[in-house]
Symmetry: C2
Subunit: 361 residues, 2 copies
């Protein structure tokens, strides 16, 4: 359950989505766009003469595609003032007789009927950041017909050990910042007669939190992956509950497949599938994948969790990982991650587990 | 009066002040530090054996100086968790018998006595951004003795016409962004069958708001000032009311003193004085000035309000300015500025006034 006031949450969360600039960033992500576009346009049987709900329509793009695919009616719900632009865009593309844009938060909106399809682009960094899937679950439980279909239908979270220069770089930044702090202490003492050194520990902690214990956004090169990626979680969007995404725990094994390397970080990403439902499968299954990709990736990139100090590994070793992600105490849309890594050599020898804690902000 | 929920306001406003990093930025501003340090240490008669209130103590620096200047008791109020660090610092500097750090918002705190001095570093960009002076006024009206002294005692807001390459640069950025938008429109149409052109006007407006109609932070070179600076507002901190700072209006005249130039922007800044009170004046008056300074300036810099298109001027001309600053509708800590410029040539000929609207964010 949200730990912050709803007003605070909405004020903070929705502000960026109110800008066309931000919507355009998503609309320019070709991997994302292709996936949704093909999912809809190659599976018209899911839309023809159907009622559709688009949760968080933003610019209205998905709603328009659904209308173009033959939907009888599309309810396009958007919490921000972007709803006005969506309405314009719907009209400008001649589907205003089909798409009804409703400004409001999904949790509060009342529809005149249940729908056959819920479509939504709700995925945040590492799938669950922003916790927007909560709103989709809420919409599903209230407005989807028993035999309805979810777009996307499935989602997976992935983790892999990687090598990266970022860990050394960020450690340098901490050191740099602490050097600077030392001259600051000296100056404050000599010019202003106040000794700041009691705050050194707190300042170091603040810096380590900022530079080392906060996840980084990156579009990695696939060559940086040094162990087999593993699925942390698999979700059927028809079944998933808020409880099960509030805390995600998983035991993973990553065989190392590069010699004389270091795990200097883990990378987390996701993919989602558009497979329809069991009774009503997709004709053409589509996947949206945000894994490291040599052709450039998506606006989601991957989330990188630094391992400090890095762990030396060789081909044939494996890392046994206990993964845990929970929602940040102060703000339910952000996440705290704990990764416990146990290195197991090909000889069977195991090293003491090391714990990495990182916040997704 | 605040138009937003108190919870939303506090969540947004106070978050940065909770970081030592941010406090350090202020503590490293030598101009700021020297002014407060000298104001206190050269006017010990204001502090010796007195009760002092420090509104928003942050790291506790001002409170410690007051104790070092001989105060009997210092109440150091701070809304954020920085209060814990202030407490450590107070202790580390051996004045914990004098300085009492109180975590809470000034509006809610109850003191056991009235005080002789209120000290506070409440100034935001262009003096009033952040609207923190409201809290100082509230503290003054509740807790300052009738013959008490304010530190600082006076404040002034300044405006001057300037020349700057920023206006052209920001216009280029708008053009660049609109060119990019045009290819985006074409791609979205050809790849995804949706015509986005109805949003072009809104996108241009969003861009102009962002690049041209939002004030910029700058430490200007004094040579960029092309007309005589004028005082927009002068405040006696003992007398000032919230009403009078909610909306600030002023008629100004700026004689132009550089030939063949362009007013491409106005710059706004402030200074504050530590003069004590009429009955109890300072022995050594100190001023903190944030005007353009060739030696580098302060962390406040100046706020730059772009004039688009620029106004051509010559030496001997003058600009008659109607200035108005009011609080932003959605958020009382930010400001909306309107500057109406009327160019008057040395011949007496006047040009039609032009209006510049800018938001301070
Ligand atoms: N609970 C909620 N109710 C309504 N809109 C929401 C919501 N939570 C998030 N949103 C909106 O959902 C959008 C997600 S971004 C996706 C936008 C659009 N569907 C596209 O694919 O391009 C944002 O515009 C955000 O404002
Ligand atoms: N209403 C209020 N009640 C308590 N603290 C407040 C406040 N409004 C602002 N503050 C605090 O006031 C501080 C202003 S910054 C100045 C810090 C310190 N006095 C110095 O000179 O270095 C911030 O730490 C902020 O959190």
């Amino acid at each position: 359950a949200p730990q912050v006031d709803k007003g605070v949450d909405f004020a903070n969360y929705f502000c960026t989505y109110g800008y066309l600039y931000h919507q355009k960033e998503m609309l320019s992500d070709r991997v994302r766009m292709d996936a949704y576009f093909h999912a809809v346009s190659r599976n018209k049987h899911h839309f023809r003469d159907k009622a559709v709900l688009d949760v968080g329509t933003g610019s209205g793009i998905l709603a328009i595609w659904c209308a173009q695919a033959g939907a009888r009616k599309v309810y396009a719900v958007e919490a921000t003032k972007m709803a006005d632009h969506a309405r314009e865009l719907v009209k400008g593309n001649g589907v205003d007789d089909i798409v009804e844009v409703i400004e409001g938060s999904m949790e509060d909106v009342v529809l005149p009927e249940k729908v056959d399809v819920i479509i939504s682009e709700w995925m945040g960094y590492f799938l669950l950041r922003e916790s927007m899937f909560d709103s989709v679950i809420c919409a599903r439980d209230r407005w989807l017909k028993p035999d309805g279909v979810m777009y996307p239908s499935h989602a997976r979270m992935w983790l892999a050990p990687i090598r990266s220069g970022l860990t050394d770089q960020k450690m340098d930044e901490v050191n740099c910042s602490m050097n600077d702090w030392r001259s600051f202490i000296e100056e404050t003492e000599s010019y202003y007669g106040v000794n700041m050194s009691v705050l050194t520990k707190a300042y170091r902690e603040e810096n380590e939190k900022y530079f080392l214990k906060t996840s980084l956004w990156c579009n990695l090169d696939p060559h940086q992956i040094i162990g087999t990626p593993a699925v942390i979680k698999e979700m059927d969007c028809l079944q998933a509950t808020v409880d099960e995404i509030c805390t995600v725990t998983s035991q993973l094994v990553h065989p190392i497949n590069i010699d004389r390397s270091r795990i200097s970080a883990y990378a987390g990403w996701f993919d989602v599938q558009f497979k329809g439902s069991e009774q009503n499968p997709a004709k053409d299954e589509v996947e949206l994948n945000t894994a490291p990709d040599k052709d450039g990736g998506t606006h989601w990139g991957q989330q990188v969790f630094l391992v400090n100090p890095p762990i030396r590994v060789n081909e044939g070793d494996k890392v046994n990982v206990s993964f845990k992600m929970s929602r940040a105490k102060q703000y339910h849309r952000l996440m705290d991650i704990e990764i416990i890594s146990e290195l197991e050599l090909s000889s069977g020898k195991r090293f003491p587990p090391v714990t990495t804690k990182v916040a997704i902000e």
